[in-house]
């Protein structure tokens, strides 16, 4: 029973691998149309010449909010871990 389950799962996995090998995008071809849109419209929509900053702070601003929250949590943890006890005299 275990052998049968192993062979079945492995064959399904290999079938998906072969399908992916035939359906994969050609090398160097972008997987979506989003990058062409961003390159063409960044300067009109955000006014920024740096497309990477436009993506980070405008198109994907919510992601940057998450990164800032991660940093905030890290700083809170480190300051809490290394807080100094008041000397009792």
């Amino acid at each position: 029973m275990r052998k049968f389950a192993m062979v079945a799962s492995l064959s399904i996995f290999i079938a998906f691998l072969i399908a992916a090998a035939f359906l994969i995008h050609p090398f160097g071809y972008p997987p979506s149309e989003m990058d062409d849109y961003i390159i063409e419209n960044t300067q009109n929509e955000t006014g920024a010449n740096n497309a990477v900053t436009a993506v980070v702070f405008d198109y994907r601003g919510f992601d940057t909010l998450g990164e800032a929250t991660i940093l905030f949590t890290a700083v809170t943890g480190v300051v809490m871990l290394f807080r100094r006890k008041k000397r009792e005299k």
Partner: protein, 152 residues
């Protein structure tokens, strides 16, 4: 550290901090931005801590002041994000307005600083947040190691 290191740190800290502020302020024109510029600023603070010792730095740079700076940076960032809520969260509502609203010509050009809408303000907020946060981490860790050495 020795007098040579302290003198060189005194000279170099000016350039390091100026470069970090340049990276933060020009984030919408050149590679870089708030995160990178804040990291450069924190490395300048690390240079100061190494050269002068964390106790001397702690006389003028307290970690609760840095925490207030970091929280205010986060609040400015979220406030700017809520500012575009009339259209959608994180909408760039300053493009076309008199403040930082100049739209550059299409195609590759050097651009100017007066562009980008809310992106320069967000860069400033995130830069403030990152430089205060990383400096607080460095300062607190350096202080903890020195007190451990003293107690041993």
């Amino acid at each position: 550290m020795s007098k040579i290191v302290r003198t060189m740190a005194n000279i170099l800290i000016l350039f390091v901090l100026t470069f970090s502020l340049y990276i933060i302020m020009h984030g919408h024109l050149t590679p870089g931005g708030g995160f990178q510029g804040g990291a450069v600023f924190a490395s300048g603070i690390a240079l100061l801590i190494v050269a002068f010792g964390s106790d001397n730095i702690h006389k003028s740079l307290k970690e609760h002041h840095l925490s207030i700076l970091e929280s205010s940076g986060a609040l400015i960032f979220i406030g700017l994000a809520f500012g575009g809520l009339a259209t959608v969260f994180f909408y760039n509502f300053l493009v076309g307005s008199p403040i930082f609203g100049h739209i550059p010509p299409a195609g590759p050009n050097s651009g100017d600083l007066w562009t980008g809408g809310v992106i320069p303000f967000m860069n400033l907020a995130v830069g403030l947040k990152v430089l205060a946060g990383l400096s607080a981490i460095l300062l607190v860790m350096a202080l903890a190691t020195t007190t451990m050495e003293v107690e041993e």
